[in-house]
């Protein structure tokens, strides 16, 4: 473990075992108190076709409280909680997205979103709670509108990527969607002011200082003025997305731009990156390592830069597929791996 002029370490608090295959995705419930008063809830999805929910008990340890099985017929690739915390969406290689509702201590499948031609790779819920988005190897991004009575209407099928779309993520504050792809590009989608038509407002590819290979993940910081993407090109890129929040509809979309590239920290594909509410970026990769980065303060004139805070080699025995900060406890991080386990970590300052 490397420490770079900051007295921080990453302590492994717990290892969650149970999945029978690789764990692909993780999601912390943003409002766990709405699910029977739990203090923390973590959803994990796997190649074993199930979704597991881990709940924090009185001992401050996470225990598996629910296994959602017999619904998806293939790998469950991604999961996401609604902002109210009462709904969970699961995206599967079986080409469907299931919506689960917390009802009296259990989760019931209340809807199945169909339409993608093949594997669904990712699902994301808008913070307004109005929309859901999914993406697939069929190269499209679908936007669904949440209706009363657990109904979901498809309002847009977005074409534009030339290959498999790996992940979609809504902006934390406004209804702007980002998708990343096997075609090496990042696309930004927004609704046209008057027509309610969704279209691509910007494409960030190699020409715009973008990635040189498959882009696997995208995450925003909590204020929505920064975005981080991770790629098979072994880099993480930080983008200035402040125009999403600073401008009005009448101005049209003002471009997002590249700020910084972090390279040389991972030796294999970086599958996931996530931003804590405190501003720490965590990344997990195929080299089994976990890295933490923070913004380098003090450069008021120059472009913001980021530095490595810590690298944890062999954080897992195999590839790390997902890293997620706990929204309720900004020092707690969860990581999921091909080794079938999930680890819970705490970032600690050491004097």
């Amino acid at each position: 473990m490397e420490l770079l002029d900051s007295n921080v370490d990453l302590k492994e608090l717990q290892k969650l075992q149970g999945h029978a295959d690789r764990v692909w995705g993780l999601a912390w419930n943003p409002a766990p108190h709405n699910c029977g008063g739990a203090s923390a809830m973590l959803a994990s999805c796997s190649g074993d076709k199930t979704l597991r929910i881990w709940q924090m008990g009185p001992t401050h340890r996470l225990d598996c409280s629910t296994i959602l099985e017999d619904t998806h017929t293939r790998t469950v690739r991604s999961c996401a909680w609604s902002p109210c915390g009462k709904f969970l969406a699961t995206a599967s290689f079986d080409s469907t997205t299931a919506i689960w509702k917390y009802v009296g201590g259990d989760f019931e499948c209340v809807a199945t979103l169909e339409g993608h031609e093949n594997e669904v790779k990712s699902v994301t819920w808008s913070s307004s709670g109005t929309f859901l988005a999914t993406c697939s190897r069929d190269k499209t991004v679908w936007i669904w509108e949440v209706q009363p009575g657990d109904e979901y209407d498809c309002v847009a099928v977005l074409q534009g990527h030339s290959q498999d779309v790996k992940m979609v993520q809504w902006h934390p504050l406004v209804d702007v969607l980002v998708s990343v792809s096997y075609d090496n590009s990042i696309k930004v989608w927004a609704e046209d002011g008057d027509s309610d038509d969704w279209h691509c407002v910007q494409t960030l590819n190699e020409g715009s200082s973008g990635h040189a290979s498959t882009v696997w993940s995208v995450a925003f910081n909590s204020s929505g003025d920064r975005m981080v993407t991770s790629s098979d090109d072994l880099t993480l890129k930080i983008w200035d997305t402040s125009s999403a929040i600073s401008q009005t509809d009448t101005e049209g979309f003002a471009s997002w731009r590249h700020l910084c590239t972090l390279s040389g920290y991972h030796g294999r594909t970086i599958f996931s990156a996530h931003w804590s509410s405190e501003g720490i970026i965590a990344s997990g990769a195929g080299d089994d390592a976990l890295c933490l980065f923070v913004e380098e303060k003090g450069n008021s004139i120059e472009e913001p830069s980021y530095r490595l805070l810590l690298k944890k080699e062999k954080a897992h025995d195999m590839d790390i597929n997902s890293v997620r900060w706990n929204p309720k406890d900004q020092r707690i991080l969860a990581s999921a791996s091909d080794d079938g386990t999930i680890k819970i970590w705490e970032v600690r300052e050491i004097s």
Binding site: R22, G47, R74, T75, R77, F93, N118, E119, K121, R137, D164, K166, Y182, S213, T214, D232, R268, G286, D287, D317, M318, D319, D338, D339
Partner: protein, 124 residues
């Protein structure tokens, strides 16, 4: 290294001989770095326009997945200059999500299992 690398014993889907007999894969084309837990295989598809190149690559990956300890990272590449869509095949073969999804396809899995079924195994 007494792993199965030295005799991959995978049958070419279009020919009755093993890939090694057909010179699709040879000992020289396999690099192993035990300390870094890294394996690199470079293979030559039987025919330049062979649509089976992806399947051969997939078979090699599955065979290695089943034979090597899980700590190993495996890269599988088509020999440079031997295939017209080399970059595209390499990208697919080394995207583990694409590989995982492909192996969940029962038809594809059946072909892979057929290619891997041993007629004669030698272990050195």
């Amino acid at each position: 290294m007494s792993y199965a690398l030295q005799n991959l014993d995978i049958k070419d889907p279009e020919h009755p001989y093993s890939l090694e007999e057909l010179k699709v894969v040879s000992e020289d084309s396999i690099e192993v770095d035990d300390k870094l837990s890294h394996v690199r295989v470079v293979f030559t598809p039987t025919v330049e326009h062979c649509s089976m190149a992806t399947i051969i690559g997939l078979c090699i990956r599955v065979k290695l997945m089943r034979s090597l300890p899980s700590r190993f990272k495996v890269d599988i590449l088509v020999a440079p200059g031997t295939h017209e869509t080399e970059a595209s095949i390499n990208k697919q073969l080394n995207d583990k999500e694409r590989v995982a999804a492909a192996l969940e396809n029962p038809n594809l899995l059946e072909i892979v299992e057929e290619c891997l079924s041993p007629s004669f195994q030698t272990w050195t």
